[in-house]
């Protein structure tokens, strides 16, 4: 029935939706595939027994005592991406990147003011991603 009624949906809306759909499933495969491999003991960077020992502490304490690292960026998992847990964290990063990729797709279909607004959104998103390299926040 719904097909009989053609709605006027802006092109940027459709582009945003289509890109989000594809990018999400690809990211989810990386996140869960590597995550399950890690849970089943394949090529682990962090030993689950040690993780269970420190998971009650703050994130900075955890990484310092578990691996001697002080994360303030993405090097802590990107440098060890051949390990399944780090690949799974990379999968989380991919999921978090999906809305940004969808915005890029929408940008090319947007017109007028929306091109500008989407550009601002993309700039904010890039700031969130590169914040650790732009500014250092207290706490570590």
């Amino acid at each position: 029935m719904a097909e009989e009624y053609k709605i006027q949906n802006p092109e940027m809306n459709v582009a945003f939706a289509n890109t989000m759909n594809i990018a999400f499933y690809i990211s989810l495969v990386v996140l869960l595939g590597a995550g399950f491999a890690y849970l089943f003991g394949i090529h682990q960077f962090t030993d689950p027994i040690h993780v269970a020992k420190y998971w009650g502490q703050s994130a900075s304490y955890f990484w310092l005592h578990e691996k001697g690292l002080a994360p303030n960026g993405y090097g802590y998992f990107l440098h060890h991406i051949h390990y399944m847990d780090c690949l799974s964290i990379f999968g989380i990063a991919c999921v978090a990147m999906v809305p940004f990729i969808s915005l890029i797709a929408a940008f090319f279909k947007a017109d007028g003011a929306y091109k500008f607004i989407i550009l601002i959104l993309m700039a904010e998103f890039l700031f969130a991603i590169f914040k650790p390299y732009i500014m250092h926040v207290a706490g570590e």
Binding site: M1, A2, Y5, I7, Q8, N9, P10, N13, V14, F16, A17, N18, M20, N21, F24, L31, L32, A34, G35, Y38, L39, T46, P48, V51, A52, W55, G56, S58, A59, S60, F62, W63, P71, N72, Y74, Y76, D85, S88, I89, I92, A93, V95, A96, P99, S102, A106, A113, Y114, I120, L121, E124, F125, F127, A128, K131, P132, V137, A138, G139, E140
Partner: protein, 340 residues
């Protein structure tokens, strides 16, 4: 409209609802306190296998997934406070996982809603310019508090509890208007053409809408963005009433566009948590799988279940978890004896 014609009946219904909620709160607190004792004793046991808590987490998130679609409450709002109160994980990892869960469920539903015209980029984009900035700030502030102060996590517990009471109040008092009447459209909304249309099968026709009062909604979206980033919550509980009651979006559009807003707000905040190492696959993977499977079954149950009963039950659990979070935080700060 019918309720307005019979104020006595409405008053009686409201009273019964309040009594019901209070009873459910008592029940939920007793239930949660019992579970906490079990959790504490398990935490102390040295011989526990590492997979025990991820397995419990899977069952727990599966249950959340089941009841979330029936109750209309987002998974993150239930996950973060209850996990904070009962699981041995740091609040950093819980908030990080909460963001991933809210993000995954919003991203999986947004494409379908956007293609149907229910979730609109034209309504979402201008408000997210403000809310995303505040969600990034919220994420930075939230992690800064727990990492810079030795007692930071207890302040977060207390703040989370208070926020839950506020959410409870909003959910209890806010109304839904299926098709709000928009008589005047402000200049900004008109120039940006913050409008759209979708096919409504119940009416058998295409429904057009136009949102308004853009600037009146902005401060709320800023607040909501901050809360989402700071506590790892989805924040649909606040997005929907603002879009529906203030900006005049029909309820279906408000609910769907709120999902679209969550995708961007939570993804931006997730990067802040990711850069600080606040996401562990051991916690994230069972949670995402649990809530995804639960939500698929829950969506089917939603057709048969009585949403109001489940909704009040969930609200009672939220209120109970809020009370426990405050007690835990005050106990940690030694303001009251430590009982949790």
């Amino acid at each position: 409209m019918k309720e307005a014609n019979n104020p006595k009946k409405t008053k009686l219904k409201t009273t019964l609802r309040v009594i019901g909620v209070i009873l459910l709160v008592c029940l939920a607190i007793a239930e949660l306190a019992w579970a906490k004792n079990v959790a504490s004793s398990s935490e102390l046991a040295k011989g526990d296998p590492w997979w025990m808590w991820p397995a419990i987490l899977f069952v727990f998130t599966f249950t959340i997934g089941l009841i979330a679609p029936v109750s209309g409450v987002g998974g993150g709002v239930l996950f973060v406070p209850i996990t904070t109160a009962f699981f041995p994980f740091s609040v950093d990892f819980i908030r990080g996982t909460g963001l991933v869960m809210a993000m995954c469920s919003a991203i999986s539903s947004t494409p379908t809603l956007a293609k149907k015209g229910l979730a609109s980029l034209k309504v979402m984009a201008p408000v997210v310019v403000v809310s995303m900035a505040f969600s990034i700030i919220g994420g930075i502030v939230g992690l800064w508090i727990t990492n810079a102060f030795p007692s930071g996590k207890y302040y977060i517990d207390i703040a989370l509890g208070i926020i839950l009471w506020f959410i409870f109040y909003v959910m209890l008092t806010s109304k839904k208007v299926e098709f709000p009447e928009v008589t005047h459209i402000d200049n900004f909304s008109r120039k940006l053409e913050m409008k759209g249309e979708w096919y409504e099968p119940n009416l058998g026709e295409v429904v057009e809408y136009h949102t308004t009062r853009f600037f009146a909604g902005l401060p709320t979206f800023a607040f909501v963005g901050f809360i989402a980033g700071m506590f790892g919550l989805g924040a649909g509980w606040a997005n929907v009433p603002v879009l529906n009651l203030i900006m005049g979006a029909p309820i279906k559009v408000a609910t769907s566009t709120s999902m679209m807003i969550i995708t961007l707000n939570d993804a931006a905040a997730a990067w802040v948590y990711l850069s600080k190492g606040a996401m562990l696959p051991l916690i994230v993977v069972p949670s995402v799988v649990g809530i995804s499977i639960g939500a698929r079954i829950g969506a089917k149950l939603a057709v048969k279940a009585k949403p109001k009963v489940v909704r009040y039950l969930v609200m009672a659990i939220m209120l109970g978890a809020g009370i426990l979070d405050v007690i835990k935080g005050l106990g940690g700060l030694h303001i009251i004896p430590k009982i949790l």
